[in-house]
């Protein structure tokens, strides 16, 4: 285990709450507002961790365990994802399957906790979450499989670096398709516009927010932190595809960090210029992402 293997994990743990801050700042800029401070999520987390939690009498231990287990799952996932040229803490062939599985596990615990409340409202959100992620997951897997095939390697740590290294020249169109598919998955998995609106609190339109309404205090902090981590990890995949290794660790780090914040800015811009899709249209978008990934896979065969 090389010492630089800790860099991706440490950066994810420390800096992931920054990304939502950047997104919010971008949106504020578009709306002509000043917006919340960049570190707002840190303040929120600090505040939440110092509060007590209130539990409904209808809930069981599942409700309490959900946020913790979810955070545990995403933390494990964070050990698998490299950052640019810095390999991940744990790397083995086909680890991208485990990565997708851990994200699914995190979702599973969130959904269970939501269902445990017994509220029909949360049940509705859970049902939507499961439906949409069932459509987003194939897109993610096919996209990663395409990259794995092109790189000839099945571990996230090596395949991303190889793709970024030299495949863009002769496989530009294929990789562009994969990247678009991954971006759509990123937006969907993180409950962003055009799939979900993180700001809305209208009952009929929410997906992710509605599931976590009953959580408070440290539990909610876990959830918010877990969501930030998930955004960070998916963004790291996208960035890893494009940022090549330069040889100088300092420059690498700067490039990667620049890429991460660029992704956050892109998400902010998308949220600012696009409207949320009608709920019925979301499956179309996600299947479209899957179709793009599949097309990229097929084109990449030749």
């Amino acid at each position: 285990m090389k010492p630089e293997s800790f860099i991706p994990l440490l950066l994810a743990l420390m800096l992931s709450p920054l990304l939502p801050g950047v997104i919010n700042r971008t949106k504020a800029l578009f709306a002509g507002r000043r917006g919340p401070p960049l570190l707002q999520i840190y303040f929120d987390l600090w505040k939440l961790l110092h509060k007590g939690a209130v539990y409904s009498r209808t809930t069981t231990w599942i409700f309490r365990a959900g946020p913790m287990l979810g955070l545990a799952a995403v933390l494990t996932a964070a050990m698998l994802v490299p950052l640019g040229n810095f390999p991940a803490l744990i790397a083995f062939p086909a680890d991208f399957l485990l990565f997708a599985g851990l994200l699914g596990l995190m979702r599973f615990f969130t959904v269970l906790a939501a269902l445990d409340t017994g509220s029909s409202f949360e049940g509705m959100g859970a049902s939507r979450e499961v439906f949409f992620s069932a459509l987003a997951e194939p897109a993610l897997l096919v996209a990663l499989a395409t990259l794995a095939r092109q790189a000839g390697s099945y571990s996230l740590s090596t395949l991303l670096g190889q793709v970024a290294g030299g495949h863009w020249l002769h496989l530009g169109p294929v990789l562009a398709l994969v990247m678009i598919a991954l971006m759509i998955v990123l937006l969907a998995e993180n409950a962003r516009i055009p799939v979900d609106d993180p700001n809305t609190h209208l009952e009929l339109t929410m997906i992710h927010e509605v599931m976590v309404l009953d959580h408070g205090g440290p539990d909610f902090a876990f959830i918010v932190y877990g969501a930030a981590l998930k955004l960070w990890l998916l963004a790291a995949l996208v960035v890893g595809m494009v940022v090549p290794a330069t040889g100088a660790p300092g420059l690498d780090l700067a490039l990667v960090m620049g890429g991460m914040f660029a992704v956050a800015v892109v998400v902010g811009v998308v949220e600012s210029v696009m409207a949320r899709l009608r709920l019925a249209m979301v499956p179309q978008l996600l299947v479209g992402a899957g179709a793009l990934a599949a097309a990229a896979f097929l084109l990449g065969l030749k």
Binding site: H170, Q284, V287, G288, G290, A291, A294, A295, L298
Partner: protein, 213 residues
């Protein structure tokens, strides 16, 4: 090489978009874009022998498929006052999945045919087949007459891409004749759509069901 690939990827994307799109106006624009992109194909696919013939062919294709047809179809849609496909026989999500399947089948088919070595891109034949099958799929799975014409155009685009890429020895006369035929075909179909619209107050072909055994 790379330019051709970009064109072909755009063709794939436009086809997928058409399969998943319900708005007729957007679909017409997508087909127009596909026409323009394909018009560039002869120039980019044969960079080493840039000739007047390819230039003329490209200009004619772009003018017809990029401008004349879309304008004509927009008029049809506008006169018929419809903007959307109504419940197609096959839903949009299913259509998209079918599109992916069709793409896979196209690649599989091209594995089995010996490809000429002079090919501009190894994607050319599969993508052409994909367009052809996607066009057929659109024709049988949509109800609006305009959608079916769009399907026909996609089908024709696929055949055209194949011809430009794989059979460069076809003469200009034949290609001009093909373009003319397609032009007249779309023209006559457009006129028929006007009449269907006037006669039935709709352009849904599933209600053209008087004649049967």
């Amino acid at each position: 090489m790379n330019n051709t690939n970009i064109i072909l990827v755009l063709v794939v994307l436009t086809n997928l978009k058409l399969l998943g799109s319900s708005r007729l106006g957007a679909s017409i624009r997508v087909v127009a874009m596909q026409g323009v992109v394909l018009g560039l194909l002869p120039i980019l696919a044969h960079t080493n022998e840039l000739s007047v013939r390819f230039a003329v062919l490209a200009a004619g294709t772009i003018a017809l498929k990029g401008i004349v047809f879309p304008w004509f179809l927009f008029r049809a849609v506008w006169e018929a006052e419809v903007t959307r496909e109504v419940e197609p026989y096959v839903g949009y999500v299913t259509s998209l999945l079918a599109g992916v399947l069709i793409l896979a089948v196209s690649f599989w088919m091209c594995e089995r045919l010996p490809m000429p070595e002079t090919l501009a891109s190894s994607w050319l034949a599969p993508v052409a087949f994909f367009s052809i099958f996607a066009g057929l799929f659109l024709i049988v799975s949509r109800k609006r007459a305009v959608s079916q014409v769009l399907g026909f155009l996609v089908l024709e685009n696929g055949v055209y891409a194949f011809g430009v890429g794989l059979a460069p020895h076809t003469s200009l006369l034949v290609e001009a004749g093909v373009l003319l035929d397609v032009f007249v075909a779309v023209f006559v179909m457009g006129i028929t759509i006007f009449h269907i619209n006037r006669e039935f107050d709709h352009i849904e072909t599933n209600r053209l069901n008087t004649l049967k055994d």
